[in-house]
Symmetry: C2
Subunit: 570 residues, 2 copies
């Protein structure tokens, strides 16, 4: 900002670049709605009130104008898009800032992955705030492509790459003051430290907060959220594709506590982003559920901005970024116009801004290495009772089931009639040849297989199938794409696929194309019998060895409650 | 804080240092009042809730516990006390943090004065946050002892001496983007920049805010405060000895906007501090006026902490400072116990903490230099109509009056029968011999004179009297004390005085002694006919050449509206 110029516009001595007349400004400071004019100069708000003149004047005819919405915690990688196309999806929704955690690419490519995401975020109409992934790898019970120690994170901070420390998922380590976690917290002392503490209550919660963690997006009940909020935790209510907490948590919001509440999407697949939206969808649903519209808008703007110390946004006030969400219906805000930094970047749901295409570093497009000769999915029947991952619809936690094995020719096999499928996790970062094989219930496939390189947090190839043949086909198909998602039918043919060449996580195609491909994958999986809303996201969490109760990594089954590997056979 | 130890206490694995049982915790996050226990370890809150054990347990028997109160803007020098004795006055009131602006001593001693105040604040039970004085000197129409340029301020910031930029009073310079003001704002870009913009509204306000200034304590009407709040200004409601805005501004506070409001005392004389209190008095009056007690407490705690980015206080939560204000009556909170950093520092109004006594740097006790041979108070009658400062009770602004001179022996003289007194401002920093002489109404003295070295902002000797003889006596008396306040009676004798040897602003005596001496000064002034609540504070603003309309400096009368010197005679 050129201050002499900007103050000239603010004083009304020189024309502003843009004047939005007859706005109904959602004032997140006063809690009121003002009928007024808004003068914008360069990328900032110059002034509010009468008497301004400008090079371009738009009569908003009493449209409402709120600050651009803020997503308080999101993994861009879950959209399967690069940052520019993630922006293309949510800018038309009125979301102008996203606080992101490039945790997925960090597990594949480490600090280089984080730096790539930051580089790829430059010049976008979406302001992307990058937090440092705090838990890479999640544990040493899986093989990842990279790890980030306190020193690596400190360097990212010193280099101005990251704004704070992202969701500190290792809450047992925080609470116990484990040295490696403590070193990371110490590196970010005085900065924003975001949390992730599902079910942590009472004294454990006190210790987690005392250690310096300040926010949380893992509450599932109002009771849990109320306790955390009262202990000083900023509550980010999450509505992800696979973890929907909005309905359960809306009763949390009261006029007396709403300042301590923000909204976030965490992980949304490209189809949900394009069809349902982002924070704007949460806003509409909060208002529909009875939350005061201005309070609800504060949860999407000022509150989150204040918690993350983003003092240059989150409100419409002189000197702040002219990021604006213009809408017509206060009962159901839908973006009519979206301004980012004073530029009209979307109108009536259509993106107007031009988006840069970053160059892809070669190292990030060569991350999928399978040693075919080591790829053995057969399971010799060494016993009759096996551990089975019991997946639960729309939940990340699984049940740890003990069931009779289905045995054919001295091999334990999948048994679709019992909804008992085989699951495999194939190490793909280093070509170590490590493969974990287990069994799972809850996916409903009757034939074929699905596979993908998007598998939290290690992002090895994860595959679920009814027979070994389509599983081999799925895994090799994914490898051939350099990463991606695939559905293999009963003929062992790929009937739908989406290449994710960037770190095996993201496509470099336009979001609409990615969403369509993704929808074809979902439809194809349904054709094979899948009963889940999104079997790919569900599958991606079946390898996450920090969420109870039974998970599978390339190193084998993990009893998460006992926090150790266990054998398939009981 | 030792984290391993602290987290052990938070987890309840080791005993805490202190357990406050049966507290009714004022939860500034949730807006609710919780019946609970509070565990304190070292200087921080360890945990909240049941199940803690401690070396010392206190049963609070359902007393209320709020966070320690925060004064959002105060000049310690106005208490005439050094920081330790200022703390002695307000710690028993429950105020545990004061955001201070050492603006007065900076005008006398520059950066050395600021550093002295910071040094003298170390180790106190009161957490003193020091902001950098932004406007030293106020103008070049008065002679000060020092000046602070952008480079000086930058050095204070770089050295960790100051937290942000204190009240940017030169609002015309901010709005016009004057180079010297802009350089100071630029030096503090990204830090807290506190404001001072009386009556600034509309486009000028937009420009002031756009320039980066974020708060204000100069509102006098709800209408002005509402406009500023809506533009994003954090409103500090002020209740000073000489500028009382609380009653007028309490109607500003609503549940929807209270998060953007804090309280401050700005300038309080030692008598008011000891007899009436500090922020605690404002809290009681806000509650009595009908503000929700928890909202009122937020105005004294969390709100101010958030605005000043003091994330380690302002709430009772794990990891924050154990600064606690314990009281019994929610309708009228009076501190029963005060904890600062986990230590019981006051009980039932009595200070328990031991206070350090800082060494006084010699340079700060030798600041009063009057050239007696240049001291001429006579006014030859060069005309018949004169400009007269019309002082108004309890206001800093004055009227610019044109009146007939009272002339005796070709000299313009004071005329107590018309309440027309002589006023003189004598340069005292450099011994330049500069003396400004004028006339003033509104003080009511019938005989004698009063004088002092506390005179905003230049802090030259300022004297008001009925005849020249007691005025000479007053000025020389003050000089002899090395700075201070004095009342001279009709016999030209000092009947009350208070030495202020530290920069001519502060005493190194205990606050109770200072307050008693101050009260004797007030009583003596009343004896001489003074009609004002506090003629010394009123006098101290008669030389402040930035507050309309007519003021006097050592360089002569200033027409503040025209922003230039003017002659006595019209």
């Amino acid at each position: 900002m050129s201050y002499p110029d900007h103050l000239g516009a603010a004083r009304g001595d020189i024309p502003s670049d843009l004047l939005l007349k007859n706005a109904r400004l959602i004032n997140v400071f006063s809690g009121e709605i003002e009928s007024t004019d808004i003068a914008v100069h360069a990328d900032r708000i110059a002034g509010i009130g009468p008497g301004y003149f400008a090079r371009e004047t738009i009569d908003l005819a009493n449209a409402f104008v709120a600050p651009g919405l803020i997503d308080g915690h999101v993994h861009i990688e879950s959209s399967l898009c690069l940052p520019a196309q993630f922006a293309a999806a949510i800018i038309p929704r009125g979301v102008t800032t996203a606080v992101t955690d490039p945790h997925e690419i960090a597990n594949v490519a480490g600090a280089a992955g984080v730096r790539f995401m930051v580089d790829a975020s430059r010049g976008l109409p979406l302001r992307i705030i990058t937090m440092a992934p705090s838990c890479v790898p999640a544990t040493n019970m899986a093989t990842t492509g990279a790890s980030l120690g306190a020193d690596d994170l400190q360097k990212l901070l010193n280099d101005g790459v990251v704004h704070g420390l992202a969701e500190v998922m290792n809450f047992p380590g925080v609470i116990a003051h484990d040295a490696s976690v403590a070193a990371k917290l110490d590196a970010f002392r005085g900065k924003v430290i975001d949390g992730h503490a599902p079910g942590v209550r009472g004294k454990a919660l006190n210790a987690y907060v005392a250690a310096g963690v300040g926010s949380d997006h893992e509450c599932v009940t109002v009771d849990e959220a109320r306790e955390k909020l009262a202990r000083g935790v900023f509550i980010l209510i999450r509505e992800a594709t696979n973890a929907k907490n909005l309905d359960a948590l809306l009763p949390l919001i009261t006029p007396a506590n709403s300042r301590r509440i923000g909204f976030c999407t965490d992980d949304r697949n490209p189809s949900d982003l394009l069809r349902q939206g982002s924070i704007d969808q949460m806003l509409r649903r909060a208002i529909a559920a009875g939350v005061d519209p201005v309070d609800a808008i504060r949860c999407c703007t000022l509150n989150t901005a204040e918690w993350f110390r983003l003092h240059d946004r989150g409100a419409i006030a002189p000197g702040r970024f002219a990021d604006l969400f213009v809408f017509r219906d206060l009962k159901s805000p839908v973006a009519e116009r979206v301004y980012s930094g004073g530029q009209l970047v979307a109108q009536d749901g259509k993106l107007l801004a031009a988006l840069p295409s970053p160059a892809l570093p070669k190292a990030l497009t060569n991350t999928c290495h399978v040693v075919r000769e080591h790829l053995k999915l057969e399971v010799p029947a060494k016993g009759k009772r096996i551990r089975v991952i019991g997946s639960i619809p729309d939940q990340l936690i699984t049940e740890h089931r003990i069931l009779d094995a289905t045995i054919q020719n001295d091999r334990v096999v999948a048994d679709p009639a019992r909804d008992l499928l085989k699951i495999a996790v194939v190490e793909r970062h280093r070509g170590t040849g490590k493969v974990g094989v287990g069994f799972i219930q809850g996916f409903g496939l009757k034939r074929g297989a699905i596979a993908g390189t998007f598998g939290h947090d290690h992002h090895n190839i994860i595959c679920i199938g009814c027979l070994d043949a389509p599983m081999y086909a799925a895994i090799l198909n994914v490898e051939k794409m350099g990463g991606g998602l695939v559905v293999i039918d009963a003929m062992d043919e790929a009937v739908a696929r989406l290449a994710l060449p960037v770190a095996g996580l993201m496509s470099d195609r336009p979001v609409a194309e990615i969403a369509s491909a993704y929808e074809r994958l979902l439809a194809a999986a349904r054709e094979l019998g899948s009963t889940l809303h999104d079997p790919f996201i569900a599958m991606s969490f079946m390898g996450l060895e920090v969420i109870p109760s039974l998970k599978l990594t390339d190193q084998g089954l993990v009893d998460v409650d006992a926090f150790r590997h266990v054998d398939l056979f009981v």
